[in-house]
């Protein structure tokens, strides 16, 4: 599970609990200017995830860490697929983040508000 918040001009993704170990990462800070959008996507967990390096993948239980697919680097931290949110990035180490959050709809709304063209 991840906690997604906004701090000034940055998106903060904090990996909670033991997932820090599985994902080998505890915190990601992304400038909002590099966040292209967010989508609740429960179906993404059924897709091929690519090659894991480094991280943890027990199919059906947890997907966590860095995966490589189609030449892109994707960060995963998902146990419960129904709560997966996809955050698309630009000019970052990761092309996208796929993280489990407690309230996908609220997280998507938070990111859309923060990145809205004003």
């Amino acid at each position: 599970m991840a906690n997604v918040s906004i701090d000034g001009d940055n998106l903060i993704v904090e990996i909670e609990g033991l997932d820090k170990l599985w994902a080998l990462k505890s915190r990601l800070v992304i400038p909002l200017a590099n966040v292209r959008g967010a989508t609740a996507d429960p179906g993404i967990s059924r897709e091929a995830k690519g090659l894991r390096a480094p991280g943890t993948h027990f199919p059906g239980v947890i997907t966590a860490g860095t995966f490589h697919i189609d030449g892109e680097r994707v960060f995963w931290d998902v146990h419960d697929a129904t709560k997966a949110v996809v955050i698309e990035l630009a000019d970052e180490r990761y092309a996208r983040l796929v993280v489990e959050v407690s309230d996908p709809r609220a997280t998507v709304a938070l990111i859309e508000r923060a990145t809205a063209v004003s």
Binding site: G37, T39, G43, I69, D70, V86, E88, V117
Partner: protein, 171 residues
Amino acid sequence: MVRSAAELFAGRTYDGTSIDDLVAHLGVHRNSLYKTFGSKRGLYLAALRWSLDHDLAPLIGRIAEGAGPLEGLREALAAPVTGAGLDLLLLAAAERAPEDAEVADMVAEAFAALDRATGALVRADDDGEASGLATALTAAVLGLRLRARSGAASAAVDQAGAALAQRLDQH
């Protein structure tokens, strides 16, 4: 691809369309969908823009280029039967515009374009009346589409449109 997305959103609403639906119907890989549009919202905005430019704009053109006011009115009031271009606009206005400022802007722009086209067809004593009638006529077009979409017989919708066109032309 954006066109198929527009059809999907127009049929199932924004919330009712999942990424799984989009991936299945658009024949696109999930990763490239994200790469191209950034998010479901990004794809939706592109689909709505496409629909306004390719479905609604031609309808507005047909209204404006009618042989006369009566033909223009008939064209406008016949549109609800086929629904071409109106469904996604209707749903966008009801579902997304209240919570998405960018959608609200696009919807307002589309309503204004419809108002300009319908406003040119009505005879009015002053600008205030003309703009009021234009708004009411656009509302009638959208309202009739709502009736048609919820199952009203197309003959009944057609008749309502024709009756209104006839009456407006007499004044």
